[in-house]
């Protein structure tokens, strides 16, 4: 009796372990493969004849004399000027994160502390706004932006990304501030602080865990954005993701696909580092909305 139960449990756990192992393989392999392949030449990365070529770099040795080559990276970063796109992305990401977290902190705090009905309606509106596909909003921007001559510049894109980020940001910080005891700021106000002073001296010192998590997600949104940046930025102001897309349009020529591969790896690397350092915050952020129900 007990023996059959044990074997069944072993069978089930073997099954679930192999499912996990399979998933981890599927999740990691494409990244590992592309990273490794980005140091090869195109005829190795796309080696129909024998996939082992991509591992050993048979053609890479033939063409360059070494089994690793940085030519893809050289082509992307220097020949195609990818560093400029990276710089643009840096500017967009930095300002989007700072502005949207500032706005979101103030708004999220107010929503968490106000018991009035309109606070609920603002949160509901934010939920609906969060669901809007970004491209539907972008189609509303283009004509006015052309007319006011603000199309194509980084500040315009930053403001738009900040706005698109707000629904998520205020929801997250709203639920974070709900967990900060009300008594803290209220006792400060009893001691004679104004609401803003209570916020500044009592809430600001304790809010950093929530703010850092929110900032991470703002970072990801701004860094990863394609829809807004591809439609709203002129060619010289392009950020990394639309730049990769325009690589593809022009790089069907032999050898140039490797530029795009190198660019893709360069874009993925910072995300890898980010997850490495902030895994706990990212996980808690993903589940922030869920735990409250």
């Amino acid at each position: 009796m007990s023996r059959t139960a044990r074997t069944r449990i072993t069978f089930v756990s073997t099954l679930s372990f192999s499912l996990v192992a399979l998933w981890l393989l599927i999740a990691a392999f494409p990244f590992a493969w592309t990273f490794w392949g980005s140091f090869k030449v195109q005829s190795d990365f796309f080696s129909k004849a024998d996939w082992m070529y991509a591992l050993w770099g048979t053609n890479t040795i033939k063409e360059t004399g070494n089994s690793f080559t940085g030519s893809g990276y050289h082509g992307a970063w220097i020949v195609e000027g990818f560093w400029k796109n990276f710089l643009n992305s840096g500017i967009v990401v930095l300002f989007t994160v700072i502005i949207s977290v500032t706005f979101g902190t103030l708004g999220g705090y107010a929503l968490a502390r106000s018991g009035f009905r309109y606070a609920f309606w603002i949160l509901m509106a934010a939920l609906v706004f969060r669901a809007m596909p970004h491209i539907t909003l972008v189609s509303g921007y283009l004509l006015p932006f052309f007319e006011w001559n603000i199309w194509g510049y980084l500040p315009t894109t930053i403001i738009v990304l900040v706005a698109m980020n707000q629904p998520f940001t205020i929801w997250m910080l709203h639920s974070f501030f709900l967990n900060v005891p009300k008594d803290m700021d209220e006792s400060a106000m009893v001691d004679g602080c104004t609401r803003f002073e209570a916020f500044r001296y009592v809430i600001v010192p304790v809010m950093w865990p929530g703010v850092i998590t929110t900032a991470l997600f703002s970072f990801l949104l701004a860094y990863n954005d394609f829809t807004v940046t591809v439609m709203l930025l002129s060619e010289e102001n392009e950020t990394i993701i639309p730049a990769i897309n325009s690589f593809l349009g022009t790089t069907q020529v032999e050898g140039k696909v490797m530029y795009a591969v190198a660019a893709v790896v360069s874009v993925t690397a910072p995300i890898l580092v980010l997850v490495l350092f902030f895994q706990r915050q990212i996980v808690s952020g993903l589940t922030a909305g869920a735990v409250k129900g």
């Binding site: 103030l106 609906v128 283009l142 004509l143 205020i170 490495l276 990212i282």
Partner: protein, 343 residues
């Protein structure tokens, strides 16, 4: 909190959302009611030895002037909504009359751009969402049973497909399933067909996009369920065990009910994100076989030199209506909860 203080605290975020989310929706709607001015045509008579003939030519100057005068174009009412690229009532009606079988009618309707895109978007959402929920739950239970030192690295690896932007993630897969890439070449080898291409047929393209969608969103449902598993009450589990419940019974009667609120949260997020599927179609260059609603809006706006703002606006409004329909059950439930709380 006093109304006045609340107002100053909420002002920055609220004005950002009003200016760049609410007003653009209105502006999209206004755009959808207008249509670009037609080209100004000049009729001229050419008389030669063999009689006179009339030729029409485009007056470029006058057209430019007219279009410059008002960017919106001329008022078209709901005309754009009803034309062939959108709801196409006339074409649907004709197809209904002309086709003998229902599947023939369906085929004809799905050839219309809007219905084709709607069909793909709904199929994608309807297939990806439940599969991601199920697989996410299974993997979460699996990872939860791993030894502690393996949990962190598993989560790290799992997060990557989700956090890497769809455009880049789908490019990475696209290169692998390319006829010369590792997966594409292997599949050709297995089926012994050197011309087999995942990009060539509609069915395979859809499958490829759906597989990508699962790969990309699975981590989200996995992480949320995994976090939920950490809060399953140990006492209840032990009590069930003492009462003689098997592992399966414990999973179905204790763990799953505990996760039900999470399931509705994950479903909501997945529905919202899957409904806007767009970047993979660009990366896979799959537009010949699969177009989503977001993609056709993008395509209208990208129309080189001559963006179709009216058409993009109309599709956008129809998409927004679709999103709101998806959200209505959630909104009603939240409203009921809120009223219960305030009673």
């Amino acid at each position: 909190m006093k109304h006045r203080t609340f107002f100053w605290f909420i002002l920055p975020t609220l004005s950002a959302m009003l200016l760049f989310i609410a007003i653009p929706i209105v502006s999209t709607f206004v755009q959808s009611l207008f249509i670009q001015h037609e080209q100004v045509l000049i009729l001229s008579k050419n008389c030669g030895p063999f009689g006179c003939s009339e030729t029409t030519s485009v007056d470029i100057e006058a057209t430019k002037e007219l279009r410059q005068g008002s960017h919106l174009g001329k008022f078209n009412g709901v005309g754009t909504y009803l034309n062939r690229s959108h709801l196409a009532f006339v074409e649907v009606g004709n197809a209904w009359v002309a086709s003998k079988t229902f599947s023939g009618f369906l085929n004809e309707v799905l050839d219309l751009p809007f219905y084709g895109a709607l069909m793909f978007t709904l199929t994608y959402t309807a297939v990806v969402t439940p599969l991601v929920l199920l697989l996410g739950l299974a993997i979460a239970i699996g990872v939860n049973g791993l030894p502690n030192m393996m949990k962190g690295p598993s989560i790290f690896v799992s997060l990557l497909p989700f956090l890497v932007t769809p455009l880049v993630g789908s490019l990475i897969l696209f290169w692998m399933v390319d006829g010369d890439g590792i997966i594409g070449a292997t599949i050709q080898l297995i089926f012994n067909d050197p011309n087999l291409s995942l990009k060539a047929s509609t069915g395979l393209t859809w499958t490829m996009l759906i597989v990508y969608g699962i790969w990309h969103t699975l981590p989200f449902s996995f992480i949320v369920f995994y976090a939920g598993l950490q809060t399953v009450p140990v006492d209840t589990l032990e009590a069930a065990q003492i009462d003689g419940a098997t592992k399966w019974q414990r999973t179905f009667y204790v763990v799953v009910p505990h996760l039900v609120p999470l399931i509705s949260f994950v479903t909501l997020m997945l529905l919202m994100d899957n409904f806007r599927v767009f970047e993979p179609i660009v990366s896979f260059s799959a537009e010949a076989h699969a177009r989503s609603l977001s993609w056709i809006i993008f395509n209208d706006l990208r129309e080189s030199g001559n963006p179709l703002y009216g058409s993009a606006g109309a599709t956008s409004m129809l998409t927004i209506i679709g999103v709101v329909l998806l959200l209505i059950p959630v909104l009603i439930r939240t409203w009921r909860d809120f009223k219960l709380r305030s009673l």
